[in-house]
């Protein structure tokens, strides 16, 4: 079965540093996901440059089909040398996960990856071997992920969390992996896992991290498409065709827009039930149609959804962010569905101009809904999930 790899990461900077010395790159190729975590020597600007170069070179070369050895040789030859330490150095972990679950993992000097299946930490020793690659001793592992498995890559800031402060010797790998294994039973999505680990790290450092700390989580999930119908078609005669295409497409179903909901209900001969429950006073309540997972109002809800997803892609994630994501309003529900329960989005967009949007209270641009859908599509693509759009 083909799987989707849900990838998310979270970094915190060393206390008082503006730049992070850890860098993550996530790239998608046709049949695989490549994730690279690099941790540059030192901290601040120098570390940031080293890790950015390292992760970008590796990710770009692998994406273009180069081998890991070639990429590592290139790094060894190109990294600028630190004038203090006479070293050019950045640790890295490279995970390439194919959509059939095969994993190629190469690690150099980073803490070993944490592989979790069914809430248990799995020992990867029998799948790993030490190798020399361009003068560096790297660990190479080959194994297979199943749906539900979690692969976490962490920088050493995580393993040493709290050293000399809350804990004498830091959190250490065994405890980090055990904590992670336990947390996978509670938090199911990659973004939540990454953020909760880093929040814990920050707590152990008493809010003043002694080192840049990063957690990158890759979770194998079965494919789940979210279908979104938004906006009435230009030609009324296309109503039935649009609803038909939407209904026969497998996956979850979301209808955005009051008029669209009315069309769906009419074509399907089903009733819309609307609640008067204002969980959020600034957003209209949601509705219900039998067989549709979520029915919401249109532009106001979608613009909030775009806002929520944008603050995710801008890495403004913390525990409060997920609190907002868990709120009981239409916009948060769509955002949550897209962020955590979706591996691809199909948009069925009607291009009719809604007379309601002539209202002076709404922005003057008549194509506001189309713009919102375009913004939504580009954000979802940034999350590494393919988007397909059909216009009516």
């Amino acid at each position: 079965m083909k799987m989707h790899i849900d990838a998310a990461f979270k970094s915190i900077n060393k206390f008082k540093e503006e730049l992070c010395g850890d860098k993550v790159q996530i790239l998608r190729t046709e049949n695989s996901t490549i994730a690279v975590l690099a941790d540059g020597l030192g901290s601040g600007v120098k570390a940031n440059i080293l890790s950015t170069l390292t992760s970008t070179i590796i990710a770009t070369m692998l994406q273009e089909g180069a081998s890991v050895v070639e990429a590592v040789e290139t790094i060894a030859a190109t990294l600028p040398v630190c004038s203090v330490r006479k070293l050019a150095y950045s640790t890295f972990s490279i995970a390439q996960v194919f959509d059939d679950g095969r994993v190629d993992l190469v690690e150099f000097d980073n803490p070993p990856c944490i592989f979790i299946r069914d809430g248990e930490v799995m020992d990867l020793e029998e799948y790993s071997e030490l190798k020399e690659c361009a003068g560096k001793n790297v660990t190479e592992s080959h194994f297979t992920m199943r749906s539900g498995d979690v692969l976490a890559l962490v920088s050493d800031g995580v393993v040493y969390a709290g050293v000399g402060q809350a804990l004498n010797f830091g959190w250490n790998w065994d405890n980090v992996s055990a904590w992670m294994a336990k947390t996978t039973l509670k938090e199911h999505s990659a973004p939540r896992l990454a953020v909760s680990l880093i929040e814990a790290v920050n707590d152990l450092y008493l809010g003043k991290p002694g080192d840049d700390s990063t957690c990158l989580v890759l979770k194998a999930t079965p494919r789940c498409i979210v279908n979104m119908l938004a906006g009435p078609p230009v030609d009324k005669a296309d109503d039935a065709r649009m609803v038909h295409d939407f209904m026969v497409s497998p996956g979850k179903k979301v209808v955005c827009g009051g008029t669209s909901a009315n069309i769906v209900a009419r074509v399907l001969h089903r009733k819309i039930e609307t609640t008067l429950n204002y969980a959020d006073p600034t957003l209209p309540p949601t509705g219900k149609i039998q067989g549709i997972d979520l029915v919401t109002e249109g532009v106001l809800t979608l613009s909030r959804t775009v806002e929520i997803l944008r603050s995710y892609t801008e890495h403004k994630t913390d525990a409060f962010y997920f609190h907002r994501l868990d709120e009981d309003n239409g916009a948060a529900k769509i955002a949550k569905l897209i962020l955590e329960d979706c591996t691809g989005l199909k948009i069925f967009a009607g291009r009719a101009i809604n007379p309601a949007h002539q209202n002076p209270g709404l922005p003057s641009d008549l194509s506001i809904k189309m713009q919102l859908l375009d913004q939504l599509a580009s954000l979802v693509e940034q999350l590494g999930k393919p988007v397909e759009k059909t216009y009516y």
């Binding site: 009051g258 009315n262 006073p281 209209p284 106001l300 209202n359 709404l362």
Partner: protein
Amino acid sequence: MEVTICIGSSCHLKGSRDVISILQRLISLNQLENDVELKGSFCMGECMNNGVCVCIDGERFNVTPLGTEEFFRTEILKRLGK
């Protein structure tokens, strides 16, 4: 009696939430919970008019938050014969 209030985008911006909460309060003040049922509906196609679209047994009215109390007296109470 069924009173349906539009909660579509346009009416939402014109204050349907306020209209709903005022009506809810007036209904409980007058102890009419068993006589009047409040319902929501997505866009009813009356966006071009001033005020929120409110529908009583198929007849449509435009109600602003400020005019809600009067609407309650002249339309809802009258229909109930009170």
